[in-house]
Symmetry: D2
Subunit: 446 residues, 4 copies
């Protein structure tokens, strides 16, 4: 029908098997099969062929996968000439037929390839792992980005919030799923099943999003602790020996760990939905809850500070720079007399430092982008090696006030303004005296 | 960012509420909300806004829906100028970035609208029913086809075989689902629960595809009867009084009714997958089964014959024409002496009559397109009023031989050749003498 | 070990198969198998033998069953001499060992027989149906009462409330279970699935007790309607056309039908637990509910009245007797001028007529024994043929006030006093003038 | 009605609360409540009172429980005089009525007490734990055996095989249940979740019996390994590093660990049913399996040998005795030159040593009583400290040949003859020369 399809038809023949290494031959065979699969011939035995394609893909080694990616990137893109002619027709006459044809020729045939592979049993899982493999190659092979673009588009559509199931995870959850939480946990490592059991006790909650096509594998999960007050340190929450409290009396629900599980779904956002849904559900179950907040790390603080210290001209004076510099070489918590200064630097870092229109710190970017408010800075809050190395042991609380999130989010997106409590805002302002000049605007990176 | 998005931004303002009727005002409000939802502003409270959009849509009356479709068709299509410029850039330099931009501007914003609406609870169901409503308007409003195109594209991707669950339906199935079978059944009407119960007894099977987002509503279902021989009439299968046989002894699995349930999923094909999956599963459960076949109506036969009789010059001679014409006016089964002639006409109709590259008969189109073989023509097989009116009481068997379906399908698609048994093929050839001239080629409509 | 067991050992040999009819031979074979099963030899292959015994029992025809019951009644009872000697030993020295031996010899070996049969798949179901068959024979064979006594004892223990599961039944319940409700319903017949569907709508509830060994078969179920006021007629509740109300606004939960499903569990009481559990659960779900009551038939009224009219000397005078007699021959609702008299007779019947220490009316016996209060008498409340024949169309409300049921129950059991509202009590007193003499005491049948 | 009941009536009053310690007062209150509960008064509010009784029991401390047991043993037994008179009546006239009355008065009212307590939520669990507590007191308070007798009778009836559910346990089982396996495992201790995971891998199986009233708590479980040959050592089975085999190719299913979980169900036998059911199910799933056998410890061997060595006159001569004695003091595996002698002693111990009509070794008693055959003695099969201490590291295989178990069981029960392979039988005979005289008969303990 279209040139693209014809081209694919020719390709089926042209990818010949002359003196190719084994890995290449297999990748070629797979590509030919996929080209057939998306042609009309593939319809009657689509299920059988999809199964075969998935099996072939799984049998590829690293070299075979790379060759396969090469073919996917090269041979399954829209035909530029065909696209141009369709665009001209649509420009001249934006009729439904011209629009339909435009859409047909400008959608990369790769997308149909992936839709067909998805029909096989285990297809979705295979595509998620295919993208995981692809993302690893992306640095060395930037040309694969076209494949990634198609995969992300499809997976984003398939893992639409409307298809996700929110499940509570507790000690009655199958061990096969609990084991995955232990593997995936990215914020505060879980030390085996006994540690996990404490995190699933009566005064805790854990919720995850699941997709029907990956029923035993969470996409994202959040761990919640119920507390009386906004917590200022993570150790009491992680302690195995703490007494189990009564959730009906708690005032605060603290999101102390959020983990995205599937590398192959990178860039597809679940966390925003998860936190707000969990907050709403917990509020309905436990009407005594007044505060929904996080206890969060500041993973990028020290990295940023190190770079800044290197920039001589950034600082108000050398004394200041050297004082800050001292913090970096200390390898431990800051001395008491420096705590206030670190407060200020941290407040500045989280409220004034921007990168491509977003907060520079990845955790801040997530919560502030969701419309949370930066509520409090906590000293000596995470004494783990990682905590001290990342942020001198400091942690922060982001507060989710559901009646404010929309306004906060808009201020963040449109005005690059961070919602922060009075204390934090004052600390950020105090930090201005440390710099050579007010560089707010510049740092926003617009 | 892109012009399209900017245009939408302006639109939010421009759809004003001056002196509009109530239905229009509501449709406008919905369209504005959706435009906001797909802008960046919609991110933080996407779930809330999606919920509101779904509620607003559900509140529209017929006039409101039509106005809403007008807006969707007019304001949420790609911008022709933007598309052209992206196509030119991609033509000059087919880089990943240019490809990405091309895809972005050539995808109608409607698709994002639907993806966002899907995030609300009940979103998928709403979109399926939105398409049902849309299809009803399509004849009067052909311009809505652009909306339908986007919906079908998305729904086709979301109802991908990989996401469907095959479920056996039996007397232990919830009544709420069984009730739907009674409502939906399109081939041999089910007369209430007792009738349905017989169709779910031990010597029958019923299977359906379900989607996780519509867990209590089948997408398609097939009814199977186990028999000793290829059946030549449907009454024994539909009889409530028949003895219940032992499925382990049966040789034949007969697909005697297949129903697509969701008008809103029209054009998204499930039947091919369903039949082949069910055949494979039954073979594994009951190794004695040797034959997988249908007992099928020929719904288009009389309609076609009537039209043909009207064409004087089509017939070998007037006597023939009048003889055939007599069958049409008779209102009952053909007399015994005419049976052979009807066999021939039917064989011709099913094997030689084509329309836009497909069998003219809709049921034949489905099974022959799946790669089945037209095995046998049965006289006096369906004595119901509908059966006599549609096809003079004739029914046919299509045979699914899994080792042949791929070859049959290819012959059907590529050569417009129907796989038929010797008997049927001979009958079709005998029919050639009835016509004025061999018009095989012409009737294929190529 | 004990003589009883030895006796059984001998029996295994002595039940010989000389010239017996086929049915007897089978029953004998079963009895021998069971005697083996409860001997030590049966242990290793207990499961196999139990399965065989159940199959043998199921294969018996009526004559075979009767012969089998003969053997069960005759050969599986305790040995009187052995019992006497154990009782003497226990009387002389009530030691644990003597008590244990007493229990061992005084428990009929039949009980162990049934416990062993229960081990087979479907065993419990078989025993329930065995008892159903036994109860049918009991009138003709009063000697079988010893078997029934053992079965009732065991089934009573096995169907202990602690093992029952309360399940809500609604339109999502499997059709196989709903079909049973239609079969079993004993109060207001259900006219097929559409009728049942109305009874399971949002403003209704249906709950049943299930036992894990009969997972698809309710033991008892109750139907509840939510109403604004205490209802005085059943037709509006049974109507298929009534609008579906909002249960959250209802003030009254009306138990309008309670059915015991399993004849084989006769005499094992579930209704008391069911009503109170359902009332407690509904109160928790719907805090607006203020009144839990029934709308109940008075099935024994006309039968009693007919007998009473026959007793000339019972009545204050012949005029009264003839007036009452006129009601009986009328075959329809009583004329308006008689309604008050019927009220009085009904109030008398339900509050003053006793039989073996219980209310004479079976429905009254159940609710009053549960501690309910007789709240109101309703004229023209059930216009069905059955309703008019049983009780001249009258129905009554029993009220469950959970804070009073214990006191009401004690007054009923200990003082033979019925809890009744003032109106009902006054009507009962007014009835005294109809009788020849106050015969309250006599009628209580003590 | 009966004297027993009247006695209980009086008791309700007589258990007075004069100057009693708090624990006694609570126990008294509970006993009074239970006496009321089984009287007629308890009927209307049986569920409420049962709930209260369970709560009261749970609130008792150890002293309170003892006092409660005192009351249960003393006041809830049958009345000897009443029993005697009922037995005399039944002896004179064994009528149904006399039998019914005999049963009524000879059943301890304790049984009704427990049946009533069982009606409360969590009742069954409470009774199982009540018996656990009771069994602990039994040594110090042998008079409690009457309570235990009643509890065992009831629990035995309630946990009848027909009510148990066989469930496969694997890595998809809830962690809360898996954790219990780790706690309960009595044969080869499980070292946490990773160890358990290996035992649940694809080449293993684990099955347990569950009761509907204790849905999350196994009653018994068995662990099965699939192997090519009858295994001669347990370490390869327990190793975490072993490769995971393909169960479809295995010839042997080895039951290497069986654990009864509930101390409160002691004496109620599940293992026999479990092994045979699992064997039958595995055979159906994996038709290649040829051998069902155990790899079992011999827990009583060293204890028996130590005692025997102490008996000088038992041995053929002092040299023999001293040689055997040397094995006991060695604390390690026997030296190679002694292995054959240990084989013989073990064969003798397992086939010739009896106690009260059963094999002396508890594991042998179980498997031989089930009808298994002692197939092989394995040297150096369990090198764990426990294994060496119990049986010098020896283990044995018991073989379950389903076609022989009934005959083996009968020979075991009736003739005290152990089914053993030729090799084992020869070893046992060779052991005769070690003893002073052939004492086979004596050791059978008849």
């Amino acid at each position: 029908m279209s040139e693209t399809r014809e081209m694919l038809g020719r390709m089926v023949g042209s990818i010949t098997a002359l003196a190719q290494p084994r890995a290449e031959r297999r990748a070629n065979r797979l590509a030919r099969l996929l080209a057939t699969l998306i042609s009309e011939r593939g319809e009657a035995s689509g299920a059988v062929m999809a199964r075969r394609a998935v099996a072939l893909y799984k049998g590829l080694d690293e070299a075979g996968r790379r060759h396969f990616f090469d073919l996917l990137a090269r041979d399954f893109s829209p035909n530029p000439r065909e696209v141009l002619s369709a665009a001209e027709a649509y420009y001249k006459a934006p009729t439904p037929a011209n629009l339909a044809f435009l859409q047909f020729v400008s959608e990369p045939p790769r997308q149909e390839v992936f839709r067909r592979m998805n029909m096989a049993p285990g297809g979705t899982e295979t595509l998620v792992s295919l993208r995981t493999a692809l993302l690893k190659e992306l640095k060395a092979h930037p040309e694969y980005v076209v494949i990634d673009h198609d995969l992300q588009h499809l997976l984003g559509s398939w893992f639409n919030r409307g298809f996700l199931e929110l499940r509570r995870i507790d000690w009655n959850t199958p061990a096969a799923i609990l084991e995955k939480l232990i593997q995936y946990e990215a914020v505060h490592a879980i030390q085996g099943f006994p540690d996990l059991k404490r995190r699933l006790a009566a005064d805790r909650r854990c919720f995850g999003f699941f997709h029907p096509a990956l029923p035993d594998d969470p996409l994202i999960f959040v761990e919640v602790a119920f507390t009386d007050e906004l917590p200022s340190a993570v150790a009491p929450i992680l302690s195995l020996d703490s007494a189990i409290g009564d959730p009906r009396r708690a005032r605060c629900a603290i999101f102390y760990s959020i983990t995205n599980c599937q590398e192959g779904l990178r860039g597809i956002s679940f966390g925003n939905f998860l936190i707000k849904q969990v907050a709403a559900d917990l509020q309905a179950e436990l009407p005594n809850l007044r505060i929904f907040a996080t206890l969060s790390p500041v993973p990028g603080f020290m990295k940023w500070l190190t770079r800044r210290v290197g920039e001589r001209q950034a600082w108000a004076d050398d004394t200041t720079r050297q004082a800050v510099s001292g913090l970096l070489t200390r390898q431990g918590l800051p001395p008491p007399e420096s705590s206030e200064r670190v407060d200020q630097l941290l407040a500045w870092y989280l409220t004034r430092e921007w990168e491509s229109g977003h907060s520079r710190d990845p955790v801040a970017r997530f919560h502030l982008g969701n419309g949370a408010r930066l509520e409090r800075i906590n000293r000596a809050a995470d004494l783990s090696t990682k905590g001290v190395a990342q942020s001198l042991g400091f942690m922060v609380n982001y507060l989710y006030d559901l009646s404010d999130v929309e306004a906060n989010h808009e201020a963040y997106v449109n005005d690059h303004k961070v919602a922060a409590s009075g204390v934090v805002e004052r600390a950020a302002r105090a930090a201005e005296s440390l710099w050579a000049e007010p560089d707010t605007e510049k740092s926003r990176g617009r």
